[in-house]
Symmetry: C2
Subunit: 215 residues, 2 copies
């Protein structure tokens, strides 16, 4: 068990000492081993925990309540799946904003989603924010009468499946539960913008190819 002082903890996690002390006071981080009236030492588990908290709060921008919830699951010896579920729900809630509970009751959108999920063989949580987000998004396509997009939902879902597999491959490379959750958080937060930007750039190529009128 290595003996890590506060200054080194700060350097290795990229968090300031006042921030780390704040997390200690909030109970998100276990207290170190006290060596003196004003000094304590920490170990690798503190580094791991702080890196996770940093990903949740500084990179993903989750509120402290959500950080506490995720950390709470880790501390309660729940399964990895539970930890990932709580983490994903917190991320989706953050992305989707606070409100939006009414919209997710479109029977046509529910039916279409059920069809996609069945076709893909996805096992998912029907009561998850992700399910709600899918219903809401499909419902908006419906209300705009975008049948051209709805007709291709099967292909989009196949590609979504491939993307999710790569995401999860990456997560599976983590050594610890803390690091697993951290990779999920950083992955969803930072991979999303990369993929979106790539799609836009790819559209630029495709648009010149499809529509180039010689000008």
């Amino acid at each position: 068990m290595s003996q890590i002082k506060m200054g080194e903890l700060s350097k290795r996690t990229g968090l300031s000492i006042p921030t780390i002390k704040y997390y200690l006071r909030e109970g998100l981080l276990e207290h170190g081993h006290r060596t003196d009236i004003n000094q304590a030492t920490y170990d690798e588990s503190h580094v791991e925990r702080l890196r996770l908290i940093r990903a949740l709060s500084k990179v993903a921008g989750l509120p402290l309540a959500s950080v506490r919830e995720v950390v709470g699951v880790l501390d309660s010896e729940s399964s990895v799946v539970d930890a990932l579920t709580v983490t994903q729900d917190a991320l989706v809630r953050k992305a989707g904003g606070a409100a939006d509970s009414a919209a997710a009751t479109d029977p046509a959108a529910e039916a279409l989603l059920a069809q996609v999920i069945e076709a893909r063989g996805w096992h998912h949580h029907r009561d998850s924010p992700a399910h709600q987000a899918a219903v809401r998004a499909l419902s908006e396509l419906n209300s705009e009468n975008l049948t051209a997009v709805l007709d291709r939902v099967d292909e989009y879902s196949r590609l979504a499946d491939e993307i999710a597999r790569i995401d999860l491959d990456i997560v599976a490379s983590a050594d610890t539960l803390e690091d697993t959750v951290r990779l999920v958080v950083l992955g969803s937060t930072l991979r999303g913008p990369v993929l979106d930007a790539f799609i836009l750039i790819a559209q630029q190529r495709a648009s010149s190819t499809l529509f180039d009128d010689g000008s």
Copy 2:
């Protein structure tokens, strides 16, 4: 040339009469054919234009200045590619927020993006907001040291390419320039959330498969 009255124009476009009058005053919509001191008739071109304006402002949430810019390109007999470029730029600027000009000068991220673009054979606009967004996103991955994700950038870019092809397929089904741009706007605005939600649901399946510890 069909003779469409204001009331029918409103019904067919889902826009209120005051809103349509506002667009007329702002010069976004050509005036109709005056039939009386207080009455004018419109035709299908007005319906098409209003559907596009509605997609730009009500669905995508673009500010009036951007709507004016897109409509201006259409009115100046530019090419489809020009119209799509201006539209995409407006959408990306909206999504990316106002600031963020400083971050996009990371040479490592630029080099990685150049590599991806070369490998995929994408022809894109180096000075587009999409390019900036990609550099910024890759730069964040770099700064978080997420090599696990960076190592898979090639696969993500291949999937982004496939998604963009479907998007553009859909757009190519439009009959008019107005409708082409409208499908691009609705497509990017509404397909994004569908794909994101599908990825999250697919991750749930994958997470139970990979991590199910029998609980």
